[in-house]
């Protein structure tokens, strides 16, 4: 080891921390960065960065998202961001719910084995129905507004994007029907084809949500339709998260009290399912809360 190594190490650490500080700065909302980003970069150039600086910037970036300063608060943008995030998280939750439904209630073997399972099924069904109704009723006016805007502007790419929920659903249903027709056996399509259809379903879910989100970002609609969608997103997110929680209770109960049922003799599906539902539920409800807060007249930052 040369004598120079000892001197280079702190300098290299300082360079790395400086870069990390700039990465942390990139985590702030765009409006915040636009207003204060250059000043903070200049300050970092003057003062340097240590671990505390990086951690402080990352923490304050999270707070700037949660409680943006009032003069940087863009209500329509916040509502559009919330609607987009809730739609993506909701679609993932709905996809997970379909997998749960397919592996439990749609199996035909209705032997709940425990009252908790039957109650969880009931809560799941009711909450999922409320959530779907919330998305349709709250999202339709915004969808129609964006479709009218896209047609007026002759933006056929946005029209295609807005049609993606229909096209993605139709494509996936057709793929499932064809697969079932071609491969159906007494015991279903088999484990690997089932997993392939699930993977294709999540691909279709991404397609389902990506189109309206892209249209929302490009067309930047405003007004009462966005506020209604943000509020309906709150209802839909809470209801779908409740459905997800009920499905977790049911899945755990089935694993405990009905082990030979529908592949629940293995614990690993729960190890994937539970974190996925929790993550999507947290993202959906947090973002929905931000959207609902922004949708209120004079909604504070």
């Amino acid at each position: 080891m040369s004598a120079n190594d000892g001197g280079d190490r702190p300098a290299a650490a300082s360079v790395v921390l400086g870069r990390l500080a700039r990465v942390a700065l990139a985590l702030y909302p765009a409006a915040w960065r636009e207003r204060y980003g250059d000043e903070v970069r200049a300050l970092l150039d003057d003062s340097g960065a240590d671990v505390r600086t990086v951690a402080g910037l990352a923490w304050q970036a999270a707070l700037a998202w949660a409680w943006p300063p009032r003069h940087l608060y863009d209500r329509p943008a916040r509502m559009r961001g919330s609607v987009a995030t809730v739609l993506v998280a909701w679609t993932m939750l709905a996809g997970l719910g379909l997998v749960f439904d397919q592996l439990t209630q749609l199996q035909g073997a209705r032997s709940p084995a425990h009252p908790l399972i039957a109650w969880s099924y009931w809560v799941f069904d009711a909450a999922a129905a409320v959530s779907v109704a919330g998305v349709v009723i709250g999202g339709l006016p915004l969808w129609l507004l964006m479709m009218r805007t896209a047609v007026r502007r002759r933006s056929w790419r946005d029209v295609m994007c807005l049609c993606s929920p229909l096209s993605a659903t139709a494509a996936w249903v057709v793929a499932v029907r064809i697969t079932v027709l071609l491969l159906h056996r007494a015991d279903g399509v088999g484990q690997w084809w089932f997993l392939a259809l699930v993977a294709a379903g999540f691909g279709a879910a991404c397609w389902f949500a990506a189109g309206p989100v892209l249209a929302l970002l490009r067309l930047r609609p405003g007004g009462p339709a966005v506020a209604l969608a943000a509020r309906a997103g709150g209802v839909a997110a809470v209801a779908m998260t409740l459905a997800g929680a009920a499905s977790i209770v049911a899945a755990v109960a089935v694993t405990l009290w009905a082990p030979p049922y529908a592949g629940y003799h293995q614990g690993w599906p729960l190890g994937i399912y539970v974190p996925a539902v929790v993550l999507a539920g947290v993202v959906a409800t947090v973002s929905a809360a931000r959207g609902v807060r922004a949708s209120r007249p004079g909604g504070a930052g």
Partner: protein
């Protein structure tokens, strides 16, 4: 515990106190607060405070010099700082007086280290955004 009371120092008040000496940009505020008040603000905390104080009209930005933008107290900021300073002065006087009564003798003649307070009035004026406790 008394050695750790400085951790309660409220960054908005420190920034207002620093700007009461004249306009300063971010790095100058950070250095001034560290040199005169012994509190090291991080970049994240400092700009969170600046953003909140600016949003509430207690400070305002001056013309940017290169990438560095100086800030100065507004009349509302000076008024809030004066009110809070007066309140802190009353609290400090009361504390000294009561300590003198409670601990008669030579120790009582030595004034205790001023104890920073949570300054609720200024918190109300500057907004109670979370995260300022991290300074």
């Amino acid at each position: 515990l008394s050695d750790r009371l400085d951790r309660w120092a409220d960054p908005p008040l420190l920034v207002l106190a620093s700007l009461s000496g004249g306009p300063k940009h971010g790095y100058a505020i950070m250095q001034d607060v560290a040199d005169t008040m012994g509190v090291r603000l991080t970049a994240g905390t400092l700009y969170a405070v600046i953003a909140r104080l600016e949003a509430r009209g207690l400070i305002e930005a001056a013309e940017a010099e290169d990438r560095r933008r100086p800030y100065r107290l507004t009349a509302a900021g000076a008024s809030a700082l004066a009110a809070e300073s007066e309140r802190m002065h009353r609290v400090a006087s009361l504390a000294r007086e009561r300590l003198r009564v409670a601990q008669p003798g030579p120790a009582a003649t030595r004034p205790p280290t001023p104890s920073p307070t949570p300054w609720p009035a200024l918190r109300r004026a500057a907004g109670r955004g979370p995260g300022w406790a991290g300074a």
